[in-house]
């Protein structure tokens, strides 16, 4: 497919990935000075840089599809961000943070990797090179946390799993019914990505005291699912976070 017009649901799909990545950058940034050791802080800072760089590329593609640049960058209200609901609030503790970013970064990568469109060729491969280090860091950390604090890891998985499944999409979106697969924009339906995500963590925690929540086909409820914001309900990030994303307090220093 050429870049002359994506199928309609594709703009929402890419918008949700981009907004999730901008919030991932924010959450990595919040934790980069308070991780348990310097190496985690450095890795978090690098991850934040990668995410913001990827957002620049995705925003560029969205503007080519007619999305307003000012709206993307600085004129949105909190409820207009289509980030995964897992990132609506800052995690309160290190194990929670690792589960939060691990699930979300991996899900965003799987959604991105499912895109089968000329506009993304090469770019997604480069992003995958970044993501390898993010996801290895998370999994390495989850392995040790599963031994040291299994209850905290399991509690965070239970808290975030419904929201990450909603971000990926409903179980009813299989190879025959996922509209993005039908339109030829992706080559992997949401139902398959959900299974891949679940199986990855089931394998990772096998033999530990951590149980991964079951893959519940009723979550999210397809009738209640918001296709645009890839979630259920009208939750959103707090306005002070959006102010930081949009650089509100430093607006006077913007280079024209």
């Amino acid at each position: 497919m050429s870049d002359d017009g994506w199928p309609e649901p594709a703009v929402d799909y890419v918008q949700a990935i981009a907004d999730t990545k901008i919030l991932l950058g924010q959450r990595y940034g919040e934790w980069m000075l308070k991780g348990p050791n310097l190496e985690d802080d450095i890795s978090g800072a690098s991850n934040a840089q990668d995410e913001i760089g990827q957002v620049r590329q995705l925003f560029r593609l969205l503007t080519r599809q007619g999305v307003d640049d000012d709206w993307l960058e600085s004129e949105r209200d909190p409820e207009e961000y289509a980030n995964a609901a897992t990132l609506d609030a800052e995690a309160e503790a290190w194990p929670t943070f690792i589960v939060q970013v691990a699930l979300t970064d991996r899900a965003a990568w799987l959604l991105l990797d499912a895109i089968d469109h000329d506009d993304f060729t090469g770019m997604v491969q480069k992003m995958g090179e970044d993501e390898y280090f993010h996801l290895e860091h998370h999994d390495g950390r989850l392995e040790t946390l599963a031994e040291d604090q299994p209850e905290a890891v399991e509690a965070a998985l239970e808290a975030y799993f419904p929201d990450i499944l909603a971000f990926v999409g409903p179980a009813t979106y299989d190879a025959a019914s996922d509209p993005l697969v039908d339109a030829g924009f992706t080559d992997r339906p949401a139902a398959e990505i959900r299974r891949a995500l679940f199986e990855h963590y089931a394998d990772l925690f096998e033999g530990t005291d951590v149980s991964v929540p079951p893959l519940d086909d009723s979550v999210p409820d397809p009738d209640a699912w918001d296709e645009t914001r890839r979630r259920v309900g009208d939750g959103h990030v707090e306005s002070d976070v959006v102010d930081q994303l949009q650089g509100v307090s430093n607006q006077e220093y913007v280079i024209a």
Binding site: E39, D40, I42, S43, F133, H137, D139, G140, E143, T144
Partner: protein, 67 residues
């Protein structure tokens, strides 16, 4: 656990010790080393667990005397 980080800029160069990382596993040590010492386009970067370094030390030898 302490891991030593070794790198080289070009194939065929000797490895250089560029620093250390603290990590709970080999998997994490690889990632931390890449993230912490990524200032060059290394031809090679590797980590060695400090416990795997073999100390080279002198040994006192007997002088050949008999009691």
């Amino acid at each position: 656990m302490n891991y030593h980080v070794f790198t080289r800029v070009s194939a065929g160069d000797d490895l250089m010790h560029v620093g250390t990382v603290q990590a709970d596993s080999d998997r994490l040590a690889r990632i931390y080393a890449h993230r912490t010492y990524d200032e060059e386009d290394w031809d090679f970067i590797g980590v060695v667990h400090e416990e795997n370094l073999i100390e080279v030390e002198g040994q006192p030898i007997a002088g050949g005397r008999t009691a």
